[in-house]
């Protein structure tokens, strides 16, 4: 299997490998990560074919492109040696092909004269075809990786360009250009990455139980999935302004977002509900040998409402209702102005509910990708909610100052993989309520930082834009000069 070089973006580092591995699974190809470092934008992988490389890369958000690796080394002497040793059989294929040869220096800069010297040092490749800076038939690139402020690169690669990434999608789905959003909408980049990690793909059915203005379902539909969602707040689904059905102008709603992106055919619709009283079918998680279980979802993606600002609430009353109150609810609930009562909802209980629902509704190998805020505190960082029917696949972290948010991704185990003993233990714990007691301290710590978290969450968009700008500054562009 040949080696390929992936030119990653140098941001959201901990999401990058999870995304690539997920996309290999979507493409149904075996991937071996040969070389990967959090502080490097260059990652080498082993893949069965060029078509496999293309299939993975065209969907990747956190990369720029993939190249067939022709050589690598810690200095130019090593690189030339490696190119001559490993890829000489490939040179003649491009002997007369119109081509381009460029340099990509990460955290470094080369003068045009230096670039020319470097590119000329590869003249032994004997490319005699015409040089084409625009639309060449084949494109080669030297990659230089510098340590911060270093004068010489520490890692070098030569690659033949194979495919560009799917990163342009984040421009198409940019929130600034989206028809209908809210203050809590996740930026397009991370929404698309989440959909990739959850294995959204043609033929699949995805659901978001806290959809808000539909960010995750929209991202999942971009990758071909059929989607639906729900929210406890009907206004976020129905949107604002007039009625689109009655032809009134100014209507902004989730359905309008799908129309904007041309994926309305993949949008099943949305409904108003809360997870503790979900109207969705909840088949028994274990088939107990009765044939099919009745599961129907391929993926669940969500960013549950942890915040203090929105308040964490589910339907139900704070205390048991008296007879009179019950009667009032019973008499009034059909009136258009009726507002169902809501009660505070424990954070831990909500996580357990999400996992339990996923265990029930996901088909085998289906995925749950769930965002969760975390304090940068040792005890809390280790906390990962568990369910005997689910296996954690990846934990990706987006760090802020005092808080981080993590994307936890689980795989629904096949029935034959489930540990019966664990199921029994989990059931007993649940009945005794042990879990909730043990976690009281954890919960208190957890909630203390929420104000901070909320503020940071709002700032996340801004800081990301800054990061993009910074990367642009660090990379003085990919220098292109003629051989």
């Amino acid at each position: 299997m040949p080696d390929y070089l992936i030119r990653l973006v140098q941001m959201h580092e901990s999401f990058r490998k999870a995304e690539i591995q997920a996309l290999a699974e979507v493409a149904g190809v075996e991937i071996k990560v040969v070389e990967y470092h959090e502080d490097s934008p260059y990652c080498t992988v082993r893949l069965p074919s060029e078509s496999a490389a293309t299939a993975i890369m065209t969907r990747t958000i956190l990369a720029h492109g993939i190249h067939e690796l022709w050589g690598r080394g810690q200095n130019y002497e090593e690189l030339h040696h490696s190119v001559k040793n490993d890829s000489s059989s490939l040179w003649s294929r491009y002997h007369l092909t119109p081509f381009r040869f460029t340099l990509d220096s990460f955290r470094g800069a080369r003068t045009p004269a230096e670039q020319r010297t470097i590119i000329e040092s590869f003249s032994y490749l004997d490319f005699q075809g015409p040089i084409r800076m625009k639309d060449p038939e084949v494109s080669f690139r030297v990659f230089e990786h510098y340590d911060d402020k270093a004068t010489a690169p520490k890692r070098l690669y030569l690659g033949r360009f194979v495919a560009s990434s799917g990163r342009h999608a984040m421009t198409a789905y940019d929130l600034k250009k989206r028809h209908y959003i809210s203050t809590t909408s996740m930026d397009a980049e991370l929404a698309l990455v989440t959909a990739n990690i959850a294995l959204a793909a043609p033929g699949k059915l995805f659901y978001d139980p806290f959809m808000g203005t539909g960010g995750f379902p929209i991202a999942s539909a971009h990758f071909g999935a059929v989607v639906c969602g729900s929210d406890i707040d009907g206004r976020s689904i129905r949107g604002t302004g007039g009625s689109s059905r009655k032809g009134q102008v100014g209507k902004r709603d989730v359905a309008g977002n799908f129309k904007q992106y041309g994926t309305e055919g993949s949008y099943l619709g949305a409904f108003v509900s809360d997870l503790t009283n979900t109207p969705l079918r909840v088949p028994a998680p274990s088939s107990e040998g009765h044939g099919r279980r009745g599961a129907y979802l391929d993926g669940i993606i969500c960013d549950p409402p942890y915040g203090i600002r929105e308040g964490l609430k589910v339907l139900g009353s704070r205390e048991e209702l008296g007879d009179v109150e019950r009667a009032t609810h019973r008499d009034r609930h059909k009136e258009p102005s009726y507002i169902p009562p809501k009660r505070p909802y424990s954070f831990i209980a909500m996580l357990d509910d999400i996992l339990a629902f996923a265990a029930s509704a996901l088909v085998a190998n289906g995925r749950l990708s769930m965002w969760m805020p975390t304090a940068n505190d040792e005890d809390i960082e280790l906390f990962i909610p568990t369910n005997p029917y689910l296996e954690i696949v990846s934990v990706c972290v987006q760090p802020f100052n005092k808080w981080s948010r993590r994307l936890l991704t689980y795989r629904r185990l096949g029935d034959e993989e489930v540990d019966k003993e664990q199921v029994e233990i989990a059931r007993k714990e649940y009945e005794k309520g042990v879990k909730a007691d043990d976690l009281n301290i954890f919960r208190r710590k957890y909630f203390e930082g929420f104000k901070e978290y909320e503020r940071l969450r709002q700032e996340a968009l801004i800081s990301e834009e800054t990061a993009i700008r910074k990367e642009k500054v660090k990379r003085p562009g990919i220098s292109e000069i003629e051989k």
């Binding site: 729900s230 009625s243 993949s266 099943l268 409904f271 108003v272 109150e325 169902p340």
Partner: protein, 142 residues
């Protein structure tokens, strides 16, 4: 909401869920709309084995839609053949059969815009307005 959604929805009241009568929910005073979309063959192939077929037939008949066959179609029945493609094996695009088109019409083009969804067990009515069903329960039912 597209009609396929009704194959996943049941009564939101917990004590109802165990009763077979709570699924499917029965549409009442439903105002339907056909919203055309491209046939998504890969999706039909994937979702077909997960459908609750008898319940789908019930709903189709309650809504006065063309009668669906008694038995769930085989997965193979969704494909008519392959288009003109290069090479062997994989060849061109798969062509959806009439069975696939009919299913597509019912599941993914037929939408409930207004009306009610009624639980066959407890009789609770969930309103659908502008294509969005509301499953929030009143206080005395939570």
């Amino acid at each position: 909401m597209k009609l396929l959604t009704l194959n996943f929805l049941t009564c939101a009241i917990k004590s109802c869920k165990t009763s077979p009568a709570s699924f499917p929910l029965h549409p009442r005073d439903a105002e339907l709309e056909i919203v055309e979309a491209d046939v998504n063959l890969a999706f039909l192939q994937n979702i077909l084995p997960r459908l609750m077929w008898a319940e789908l037939r019930t709903i189709a008949s309650e809504l006065g839609l063309p009668t669906l066959p008694e038995d769930i179609p085989e997965r193979e029945a969704l494909v008519e053949g392959r288009g003109e493609g290069e090479g062997e094996g994989e060849g061109g695009e798969q062509i959806p059969s009439q069975t696939a088109k009919d299913l597509h019409r019912v599941l993914l083009e037929t939408c409930i815009q207004e009306g009610k969804l009624v639980c066959g067990n407890c009789g609770h009515e969930y309103a659908v307005k502008e294509g969005v069903a509301n499953f929030l329960l009143p206080g005395h039912l939570v």
